[in-house]
């Protein structure tokens, strides 16, 4: 658990998260908890660039409610996924685009 880490972006004051699950982003393991969105787990690990737009620059979480699609990532076996509304699953392999 990283709750002892002062620099954690996770807010632990009044909540018990789900059990820890293993996910990877671009091949790197990052902490994630059952119930979390893929976007929350990525942001909590300091990852803010979710994709690079064709003919333009980096993009990340914008609307946070599944309508702008700027946080689109690729999940092995699922394909394109909106990270802000997709829930993490144990063993999930995520790639930024």
């Amino acid at each position: 658990m990283e709750s002892g880490n002062e620099r954690s972006l996770r807010i632990d004051s009044n909540v018990e998260r789900g059990r820890a699950v293993r996910i990877t982003v671009d091949g790197e393991a990052i902490p994630a908890y059952e119930g979390e969105s893929v976007a929350a787990a990525m942001l909590a690990s300091g990852r803010r660039v979710f994709r690079h737009a064709e003919h333009d620059g980096p993009r990340g979480v914008f609307c946070g409610m599944g309508i702008c699609n700027e946080c689109m990532v690729t999940v092995a076996d699922l394909g394109h996924v909106r990270a802000c509304i997709a829930t993490v699953r144990d063993g999930m392999r995520v790639s930024t685009q």
Binding site: R10, I11, R17, E36, R48, D56, R59, F62, M65, I67
Partner: protein
Amino acid sequence: MREVEIAIVGGGPAGLGAALEAAQTGAQVVLLDEYPTLGGQFYKQVPEAFAVRNLKAESDQFVEGVELVERVKNSSVEFLPNTLVWSIFPDGTLGLSREERTEELRAKKLILAPGAQEVPVAFPGWTLPGVMMGGAAQSLLVTQRVLPGRRVVLAGVGPLQLKVASQLLDAGAAVVDMLEASSKPPVSMENALRSLGHWGKMREGMTYWMKLKKARVSYHHSHVPVRALGTEQLEAVVVAQVDEEWRVIPGSERTLEADTLCLSYGFLPATQLTRLVDCRLDFNERAGGWVTWHDADQRTSVEGVYVAGEVGGIGGSEVALEEGRIAGLAAARALGKAETSASRKQEAEARKRLTRAREFAELASGMMQLKPALLDLITDDTILCRCESVPATQIMQAIGAEGDCTLRGIKVQTRAGMGSCQGRMCGHLISRLIAKKTGMPLESIRPDTARPPIKPVPLRVLVDHLET
């Protein structure tokens, strides 16, 4: 194919209110939401796998959500989570995407409660990671319990950002600055709220205000962010003072270091589904632009289709909840239920509360109207269509060329609005630019045709659909 008596799309305040009342009459109710949990973008509940330790330490809004969701769970309402209504076919059948599969559902009465989206406001750098809607920050804070950033600038219009700032402070983020575009700080609502006796709203606003003052948060009215700076993500925000009409005052620019910029410029009704079934839409700028027309019983112009909440005009959660209750009862009554005196009494009470709630909505909307000069922040190379990366200069050139003053015309010429968000981000910006360049009134610029799937679905879902 399965047929139910009442299907409700959207599990926010409107959908919850509709589901509860309809179920109480004995009607068979199915409630559909794209999210795994009920509550929607207002109640922002935590995921099922999370547990809040002490409910008393949560906001009134969160607790109210918990209570409503519990009531629905303990009722006869059937909730289908993770279920996107990706289409409504001409015969009224709903196309559902669930767990990578398609399903179809028919309902004798359909209540659409899809809610709203936040108003996208474009300026150079607004596509940088770290620039996000205020609602995105709130979902991260309240649902996911993750800080959206460590150094946050808030910007927008109206009282909402007071709440976002307060939530950020509680969670331990540094609120670098708060920028209110209007010349009137939201605290100026106080007198109006007091004279109308909206004590709860007044207390809520003052609680935020006092908390921000105590934390010595810097607050500037008549200010907007004009540029977001950074290479791979947001590093700084250039802000400027504006006049009464929101025109930037030259020489007033200054730069704030920040990793996050939250934008809260109000809301637009989510009319994709009501457009898909061809409900009549009216233009009402104060209520968010194109709104779905409905009568006092929440019936739309399409037989058997009802709406509740923001889709019929931005009015806030209390309006949504009461409209939902009325829609639920009206739909049940159309099925021969809800004829008891208890139901009639419920309805009369809901209507009374609705009148009160609309009074507040009217006040709030008066504070949240955007001024056209906000568009002047857009430069030639500002991306307007985020999906297809179309810069403003291409769109400005397309407006009026070959007589094109429609969103569809601009889309065909530039690809703006053709991407996966289907114009949700750029549509209202382009409409305003058309109005600005041609002098056409906004109400003469219709939203583009909504087409299924209204949100991205796995290809498998479409293939499934074609094969069944």
